[in-house]
Symmetry: C2
Subunit: 157 residues, 2 copies
DNA sequence: ATTATAGTTGCAACTTAGTTGCATTTTTGT
DNA sequence: ACAAAAATGCAACTAAGTTGCAACTATAAT
């Protein structure tokens, strides 16, 4: 979602979703559009600095609206913090990798419908509207850090 | 995990895991063994009534130990509440269904290794140690309730 | 231009999940 | 029975997320 997003993109998205375009909503949208990884609410707020600072509650309300209108999707990550990412045509639902050590969340290759379809053996009387595949472990950054530590003689965490 | 679990099962599990057997740990273990669905910490505590009541912190510490020793596994559910279930040979990792309306979490059919394997296109430099597949929507109970409401002339929520 | 109306924001207060430090109690090994 | 080690309970805390309400802002009608 990073490819040189402009303010116009944000305006268009709000317009298409029939949402009134306030500076706060545009600010949040621009942050999400610019980000290369899913963000949690704290991260979004840290990026809303200076003139763009927005009350915590407002951020939650904006995100809740965006989610309801299908503009963003939520990623339920281990560790009790929810992440969000843009939900566009070019960014279909996909698995995520969450690092146990640093908490980083990154996107993995999307599944085709047929691939994901076969793993839903939900009883027929459930109506499915969302699938999350969350994979966790240790990211390359953290693994390298640990290796360096071991080489320099220090013990495990 | 419901099939007539006895106190002996709990003792055996603790023994095999080389964990000292305290009444608190046995009480938690017995609740998990008896439950037919994954439980969250609040549920576990509600079931620890009377003589068996245990401090909230102790419950967290016990569960954290059980998880570390592979006795239980955690299910990261939508809504910020984590669920737990017994992690035994006969109960391999499997997808879960979480109802958006009532919050109920239920177990779905397990995936074979080859099935789950193909959906992990993690970059090679990540080390994967956990996969969660969470499916959410509306459970049959809630759907029926909604239908009855509609029939009796009331509107949607 | 004035005013009514609905929608949006910010603030304060609250709830709930989970954690940390420390004193007291219980297990366990001798 | 006893000492060391481990486990528990309590109080206090953090962090995510929610609710109610008053103030503000855009819009639409007069
Ligand atoms: Mn993603
Ligand atoms: Mn299960
Ligand atoms: Zn990491
Ligand atoms: Zn339900």
């Amino acid at each position: 979602m990073n490819n040189n997003a402009t303010d116009k993109d944000g305006l268009n998205i709000l317009q298409r979703a029939d949402i009134s375009k306030t500076p706060q909503r545009l600010a949040v949208l621009n942050i999400l559009l610019k980000s290369t990884t899913p963000l949690n609410v704290s991260c979004v707020r840290e990026l809303l600095t200076g003139k763009n600072r927005i009350d915590r509650v407002t951020v939650y309300r904006i995100l809740s609206l965006f989610k309801q209108r299908g503009i963003i999707r939520e990623i339920t990550s281990t560790g009790g913090v929810n992440f969000i990412e843009m939900a566009t045509q070019e960014n279909p639902v996909h698995p995520h990798f969450s690092c146990r050590s640093c908490g980083m969340l990154s996107c993995l290759e999307p599944l085709t419908f047929s691939q994901s379809h076969q793993l839903i053996s939900a009883k027929e009387d459930y109506s499915v509207d969302h699938i999350e595949i969350n994979i966790s472990g240790i990211c390359s950054g953290c693994r390298n850090a640990t290796m360096l530590q071991k080489q320099s003689g220090k013990g495990e965490q």
